[in-house]
């Protein structure tokens, strides 16, 4: 029996997701505010069911405008958005009933109880009362013991969780999280990441915006980078890091080098620390090139009589990639 090549489970999952029709389809979406500010410039994007999509971008890039437009808070200037095939304008009821939104700011009714406001949200989305579901949501978010508390008495972290509870009250299939962990402590952030993963496991599609690159790196399946209203890049996270990420090989020399030997010019090496370190910076395509990869370099070093004591490799983070992408647009 022929042996099948081993394909990583994540790649299979990604391929399945790709094959499914998008749960959110955005085509040529533009938004110009009354002030003339062009917040979104012909955005086209597909969100696949069951994925975690992270939208990254600097302040004022258009992240919140994009989310607000999909959710019905902002009126688009042009373009079309469908949610599970329902147009957000002409079939707004069907589209919005699938969506839960957690806003960036802590907008809450100060004088209501936790239970009342979460129940209100469920009713607002046209769902009949389901105390068992509300209880489950509050327990999942560690708010059950606060169910009768007046909202203004809650801490900032609890209010953040309350907003998530409200968004989940009507059992949405899509959850928008606009900066969900802004201003929350590390422990709560980890809890929220766990909750997001749990929701995804239950089939909820999650779109989050964040300033924390680590958050996107930890959780997202795909990443979109938006800058000045334009979607610069949309890519699977691992693919994005593979394509755009730089790797660096640092060799500690046995003897300091005065200059890079001409025979090694093809690798565009750099000397550092007074010739004690030789640095090779390369990307994915170079790594896969037999004539320019690390193996070829090591052979070249041996042939040139350059000897090293130790070596280490580093890889650029998503943050480096993000800064580089956004920086190019400035």
């Amino acid at each position: 029996m022929a042996r099948q090549p081993c394909v990583p489970a994540a790649r299979i999952e990604s391929a399945i997701i790709e094959a499914m029709s998008p749960i959110i389809s955005i085509r040529n979406l533009s938004k110009t505010y009354a002030t003339g500010f062009h917040a979104l410039k012909s955005i086209s994007l597909d969100i696949h069911p069951g994925e975690i999509f992270a939208l990254l971008g600097p302040n004022g890039a258009g992240k919140t405008t994009l989310i607000s437009t999909i959710c019905g808070i902002v009126t688009p200037s042009s373009g079309r958005v469908t949610v599970d095939g329902h147009d957000i304008i002409t079939s707004f009821r069907a589209a919005r009933s699938l969506i839960g939104l957690v806003p960036q700011e802590l907008h809450t009714d100060a004088f209501e109880t936790v239970w009342a406001t979460v129940s209100f949200s469920r009713g607002l989305f046209g769902k009949s009362a389901n105390p068992a579901h509300i209880e489950r949501v509050l327990r999942d978010l560690s708010l059950w013991d606060k169910k009768d508390a007046i909202i203004r008495t809650l801490s900032g972290g609890m209010k953040r969780r309350l907003l998530i509870a409200k968004a989940l009250s009507h059992e949405p299939r899509i959850l928008f999280l606009d900066e969900p962990t802004a201003g929350v402590d590390v422990e709560l952030r980890r809890d929220m990441w766990a909750l997001v993963r749990q929701l995804r496991a239950s089939g909820v599609t999650i779109i989050l915006t964040t300033h924390y690159i680590e958050e996107a790196e930890q959780m997202a399946d795909r990443i979109g980078v938006i800058s000045k209203g334009e979607l610069i890049v949309v890519e699977e996270k691992t693919e994005l890091m593979r394509k755009l990420g730089k790797k660096q090989l640092t060799l500690q020399m046995l003897e300091p080098l005065a200059a890079v030997p001409p025979a090694l010019a093809a690798w565009q090496l750099a000397l550092a620390k007074g010739g004690n370190e030789l640095i090779y910076t390369y990307d994915a395509s170079e790594a896969e090139d037999d004539s320019r990869g690390i193996a070829a370099l090591l052979r070249g070093l041996g042939e040139a009589g350059v000897h090293f004591r130790d070596l280490q490799t580093t890889q650029s983070s998503l943050e480096d990639i993000f800064v580089s992408l956004v920086g190019e647009r400035k």
Binding site: I73, V74, R96, S121
Partner: protein
């Protein structure tokens, strides 16, 4: 989900009525005390020294006007605060992102505001009945005018709540326009008691028609014909409905 999202209408309505319950001192007891004071001062203290008006004791004569005064100001106040507060706190995001149509939003907020005003009107009526001898000649029309006026001016309040971008603006129209028009609209007198010139001027005050029709339902006498009163009330209703429809069509001060 098809048709009306009645669960959403109920959720908003109950939310607003719950707020009414929490602020019962401000929403109900305070206007009732104010109105009771009017009865004591104008009805009992001054009224005893005044002649009957149209065959009705002065104390009983001012009851419809005083109810209308509270009804107009409270309808506007309740509805304007109801829609302004979510704008102020930012919770309006939830309303705008919910599968709720503009008709349902209006129905819920205006319905709740009008309900509060009608409750308030009936409580004031009950209070008045304790203080002055009172008969209602046309109970059906009394209730009809009460409900119609409450709905109409709750719509006006809704418009003010959408327009306002600060708490001060919520108070401007009730204080500077509605209250003076109500005082000058025959709350405490029949416009027949005015000199001819001022009688003519009073006919340009739209509140005259509301009070006159409401007073007719109590005492069977009015400053203007009941048909004109009803027509004017309906005209207000239509004007405010058209403005609300425009607000929702354009997203004026609700949606960017």
């Amino acid at each position: 989900m098809t048709g009306l999202n009645l669960l959403a209408v109920r959720a908003i309505y109950r939310f607003e009525m719950a707020r009414f319950g929490r602020t019962v001192m401000q929403s109900l007891i305070s206007p009732v005390i104010s109105t009771a004071l009017y009865f004591v001062v104008f009805g009992a203290a001054i009224g005893e020294r005044m002649q009957n008006v149209g065959g009705v004791s002065y104390g009983a004569f001012i009851v419809p006007g005083l109810i209308m005064l509270s009804l107009l100001t409270q309808s506007i106040s309740n509805a304007s605060f109801g829609i302004y507060f979510p704008k102020f706190t930012g919770t309006i995001y939830e309303l705008l992102s919910a599968p709720v149509s503009y008709v349902e939003i209006t129905l819920a907020y205006v319905g709740a505001a009008a309900s509060k005003s009608v409750i308030l009107g009936l409580v004031i009526l009950a209070t008045a009945a304790v203080i002055v001898p009172l008969e209602i000649e046309h109970p059906f029309w009394m209730l009809s005018f009460l409900v119609l006026t409450a709905v109409t001016f709750s719509l006006a309040g809704f418009i003010i709540g959408v327009w306002a971008d600060g708490f001060e603006k919520l108070q401007v129209i009730p204080l500077l326009i509605i209250t003076p028009l109500t005082f000058l609209g025959g709350s405490f007198y029949s416009i027949d008691m005015l000199p001819p010139v001022w009688r003519t001027v009073s006919l340009f005050n739209p509140v005259v028609y509301l009070i006159s029709g409401f007073r007719w339902s109590f005492h069977g006498t009015s400053d203007v014909s009941i048909g004109v009163s009803l027509g004017m009330t309906l005209a207000f209703l239509i004007v405010f409905l058209v403005i609300v429809a425009w607000i929702f069509r354009t997203g004026y001060r609700l949606k960017a």
